[in-house]
């Protein structure tokens, strides 16, 4: 079944954990946009949700760091973070091992990827699910691109991975939605936390919405770090989604810097109707 939905959203822990410290008008508008994204995913008849996120040392460490990994289990627990700190209760989220295995096999035809039969969610997945599948009744397939512990996969490989995800989603009979989660520019959990390079973000989102492959791959980590912080490395998730929707044009439904959330809060998706 052709991929039914492709979009991106922010996942910063402050979105839920420091909600009471944000400007309520801006925060509520962001939450409303998240809820509209939920409805679009549901309206697409989604039967399983692939979440491409940059995880943050919840499962993978520098002793054995996969550049790419896909979960292959019937359920996943999370978040690992303290529930009060994150503002999200610990929960068991449904997976689909059989579907994961079929997806992984197809991805492996063109892109090496690790699989994981254990996977504990952190805010990179738990925050988006809090808004997008609030009843935790939609099977989720977690996907990680290492954006935390250099050396990192080149951005052109993230594009290639997104193409493989698309081909795999199209090859199964289930109606698959895929989302990428992460920041654009941000300096999370550092002394610069709260800084957001809005100009850089808007330029990136323009490239993303046009789905301009060459422009999206015209980033080096050194320059991204200088302009957009180490959080900017998470553009790999956004680039993979662009590749999964290659040829489609995107709409940025919401973008607004919310410093206490440490990120320019973003909701965007592609028109998959064609």
């Amino acid at each position: 079944m052709p991929l039914v939905y492709a979009g991106v959203c922010s996942h910063a822990p402050g979105i839920t954990g420091r909600a009471d410290q944000a400007d309520p008008d801006v925060r509520d508008a962001f939450y409303a946009s998240f809820d509209a994204m939920r409805r679009r995913i549901e309206d697409a008849g989604t039967e399983a949700l692939i979440v491409i996120a940059a995880e943050h040392f919840a499962n993978f460490f520098m002793n054995n760091m996969p550049s790419y990994a896909i979960g292959m289990a019937d359920s996943y627990d999370g978040p690992i973070e303290d529930s009060d700190w994150l503002g999200i209760d610990k929960v068991r989220v449904p997976g689909n091992r059989d579907l994961s295995e079929r997806i992984i096999k197809e991805v492996l035809e063109t892109h090496d990827v690790a699989y994981a039969e254990e996977w504990r969610f952190d805010h990179g997945i738990s925050v988006p699910l809090h808004f997008l599948t609030p009843r935790y009744d939609l099977p989720v397939i977690p996907v990680n691109i290492n954006c935390q512990g250099p050396p990192l996969t080149p951005v052109h490989r993230a594009w290639n991975f997104g193409e493989a995800i698309r081909r795999a989603a199209d090859a199964v009979p289930e109606r698959i939605a895929v989302i990428g989660t992460g920041g654009i520019s941000h300096w999370p959990a550092t002394p610069d936390s709260g800084k957001i390079n809005k100009e850089w973000d808007l330029d990136f989102l323009d490239r993303w919405a046009r789905n301009d492959r060459d422009a999206l791959l015209d980033y080096t980590d050194l320059q991204t770090y200088a302009d957009a912080g180490q959080g900017g490395f998470e553009i790999r998730a956004f680039i993979a989604i662009a590749a999964s929707a290659a040829g489609a044009l995107g709409t940025v439904h919401f973008y607004e810097p919310i410093p206490i959330f440490s990120v320019g809060c973003t909701i965007a998706d592609y028109d998959m109707s064609n």
Binding site: G14, R18, Q21, H56, F57, A58, F61, M62, N63, I80, E81, D82, W85, R120, Q148, G149, P150, P188, A189, T190, P191, D192, S193, G194, K195, I196, N197, D221, L222, Y225, A226, D227, Q230, P257, I258, P259, I260, S262
Partner: protein, 125 residues
């Protein structure tokens, strides 16, 4: 210096309640098996957030450690700034890629004021 093992310990601590209980009962004892220096051991047991940041611990690991010690978000950010002031630029790890010279200089390099540097975005705070 063994940044790898400092971060490995914190990785285990952040995700494993058994390690958290061992650390609560005996902080230094919980470090057994991790090849850390006396300076690193002291920073992990005190805990000294600023020194750990200066050493190069990734913030995605360090922020959970701060939360474990009930360190409020704004205080956590300030402790890292104080660490850079006291010990100098981050000496290893991802934040040392281009050198980290402190929040004000970093803000200036981006052409931004540092008013948002407390993480709240509140001008003048």
């Amino acid at each position: 210096m063994s940044l790898y093992y400092v971060q490995k310990f914190l990785y285990e601590l952040n995700r494993d309640e058994n390690v958290q209980q061992a650390y609560e009962a005996d902080r230094a004892g919980a470090l057994a098996g991790f090849d850390v220096t006396d300076e690193e051991s002291n920073a992990l047991t005190e805990p000294d957030i600023g020194l750990l940041f200066h050493m190069g611990v990734n913030g995605q690991i360090l922020m959970h450690f701060a939360a474990l010690h009930q360190i409020e978000w704004g205080d956590y950010l300030q402790r890292m700034r104080d660490g850079v002031d006291a010990h100098g630029p981050v000496r290893a790890g991802v934040y040392a890629m281009t050198g980290y010279e402190g929040v004000d200089a970093h803000a200036a390099s981006l052409g931004q004021a540092s008013a948002a540097a407390d993480g709240t975005g509140n001008e003048g705070s």
